[in-house]
C-alpha cells in the first residue's frame, strides 16, 4: 500500500515584497530628511535638560562663535527685504537689497555691510568675517539691528534664538543680552542639544511623579 504523499512545501519565502517595502520606506526617509545646510559659522552648542524643540519657523537667531564674534540670522525673506530697505534709508549704506535678502546671515559692521554682501556666498565663512561689533558698550551695533528687526516685524513677535558656542566668553553673551534688553526683548530661547535629566534630582522626581514641566 502506498502512503499518501504529503505535498512538500518550500520553506523559503519570497523576499521581493519585503524588499520593496524596505526600500520604499528608505527612499521616503531620505527624501523627507532635511539635511543640515553646511554651516558657514561653526558652533558647538552646549547641552541642557530642556526638552522643548527649538522653533524652526519665524525666528531671529543671534549666533556667537567661539571667538565671541556675533552674527545675525533671519528666517523670513520678506522681513529681510524690509530690513534691508530700512537700513539703507536710515544709515545710508547703499547696499544691494536683493543680495541682502538672499544672504543667509549678516556678520559685519554697518560700514562694511556693503562689502560683505559683495562677497560670494561660499566665501562668507565665520572665521574670516569681522562679525557684528557688540563688545564696545557705546557702539553696540546689535542694539540697532534688533531695533530695526523689531520695526520690520511691525509688532508681530518672532522667536528670538541665541546660539552660542561652548567656548564663547561671557562678555559677548552679556553684550547680546544688553542689546536684547535695550529693545525690550525680555524673552528669548537658547539653542542647546538635549541631555537626560540626572537621576535623583528634584526635576527628575517631578518628572517621575508625572508633573508637567513648566517651560
Amino acid at each position: 500500500m502506498g502512503r499518501a504523499k504529503l505535498p512538500r512545501k518550500s520553506t523559503s519565502i519570497d523576499m521581493t515584497a519585503m524588499c520593496d517595502v524596505a526600500f520604499l520606506l528608505l527612499s521616503f526617509f531620505i527624501l523627507t530628511t532635511k539635511f543640515k545646510p553646511s554651516e558657514a559659522i561653526a558652533v558647538t552648542i552646549p547641552k541642557s535638560v530642556a526638552a522643548k524643540v527649538a522653533p524652526s519657523k519665524d525666528f531671529v537667531q543671534v549666533i556667537i562663535d567661539k571667538d565671541g564674534k556675533v552674527f545675525l540670522e533671519i528666517e523670513d525673506e520678506s522681513i529681510k527685504e524690509t530690513l534691508g530697505n530700512a537700513l539703507n534709508n536710515t544709515k545710508n549704506l547703499g547696499m544691494d537689497v536683493k543680495a541682502f535678502k538672499k544672504a543667509l546671515f549678516y556678520g559685519a559692521p554697518f560700514g562694511n555691510l556693503r562689502a560683505f554682501l559683495e562677497l560670494p556666498e561660499d566665501q562668507r565663512k565665520g572665521n574670516l568675517l569681522p562679525g557684528i561689533p557688540v563688545q564696545d558698550t557705546a557702539h553696540n551695533e546689535l542694539t540697532d539691528w534688533m531695533a530695526q528687526v523689531l520695526s520690520a516685524y511691525q509688532g508681530k513677535k518672532p522667536f528670538f534664538l541665541l546660539k552660542g558656542d561652548n567656548l564663547a566668553k561671557f562678555p559677548a553673551f552679556k553684550a547680546v543680552i544688553t542689546a536684547f534688553k535695550k529693545n525690550d526683548i525680555l524673552k528669548f530661547q537658547m539653542v542647546t542639544s538635549p541631555e537626560g535629566v540626572p537621576v535623583g534630582t528634584d526635576l527628575w522626581k517631578k518628572a517621575q511623579s508625572g508633573e508637567k514641566r513648566d517651560e
Binding site: 541642557s48 535638560v49 561671557f170
Partner: protein
C-alpha cells in the same frame, strides 16, 4: 516574484538535441532586505539626534530706582560666581568684609550645595539664587548653571552683573587654583 519562466514554452525537443541547462533566475533577496532595514534604522536615528532643543530665559526688566528692585531675605540667598577654567565659587547671604564665607566649588559639587541650601531654607519662596558670571567664564558655563537651576527646580534666580570686589576675589581664587594645579 523575482523569477522568470525560462522553460521555453514546454515543447519537446528531438532526441538528438541536447538539453541546455536551465538556470534559475531567482535571487535571494534576504540580504537586500537586511540592508534596506539597516539603512532605515540609521536614517531614523540620525534624524532624531540632530534636533536641537531650546532653553527659555526670561530677563528681568532693569529697575532704575532701588525701591523697585526685588528684595530677598538674606538667609535664603546664595550667590554663585563663575570663574575661569570652569571654576565655581559661592557664598551664602551677604559677602562679609574678610570674604571668609567665599567658598570654592565645581560644576560637579554645586548641585549638592544647592540642594542643601534649598532644604535648609525655611520657606521655599525665600530661596533665591543669584548668578554672577565673571568675564572669564564661557557661554557653556552660564548655560550649565542655568540648567542647574532647572534641574534643581530653583524657581527664583537672577543673572546679575558682577561687582568689582567679587571680580577681584574670583581672579585671585582662579590664580590660586591654577598655581595649585601646577
Amino acid at each position: 516574484m523575482a523569477e522568470m519562466d525560462t522553460s521555453g514554452g514546454g515543447h519537446k525537443k528531438g532526441p538528438g538535441v541536447k538539453k541546455s541547462k536551465k538556470l534559475s533566475t531567482r535571487v535571494d533577496l534576504t540580504p537586500m532586505v537586511d540592508l534596506g532595514f539597516l539603512l532605515i534604522t540609521f536614517f531614523i536615528f540620525t534624524t532624531t539626534m540632530s534636533q536641537a532643543t531650546a532653553m527659555k530665559l526670561i530677563l528681568p526688566k532693569d529697575a532704575d530706582k532701588p525701591e523697585d528692585q526685588n528684595k530677598a531675605k538674606q538667609s535664603g540667598v546664595i550667590t554663585i560666581l563663575l570663574g575661569k577654567d570652569n571654576h565655581v565659587f559661592y557664598y551664602e547671604g551677604e559677602l562679609d568684609n574678610t570674604a571668609s564665607n567665599f567658598k570654592s566649588s565645581s560644576f560637579h559639587d554645586i548641585r549638592e550645595v544647592l540642594i542643601n541650601k534649598k532644604n535648609s531654607v525655611k520657606e521655599l519662596k525665600d530661596f533665591v539664587v543669584i548668578l554672577k558670571p565673571s568675564d572669564f567664564c564661557t557661554y557653556r558655563n552660564v548655560v550649565d548653571i542655568l540648567d542647574e537651576m532647572t534641574i534643581n527646580v530653583c524657581t527664583r534666580y537672577a543673572l546679575v552683573d558682577i561687582s568689582d570686589v567679587e571680580t577681584q576675589l574670583v581672579k585671585k581664587s582662579d590664580e590660586m587654583a591654577a598655581a595649585q594645579g601646577n
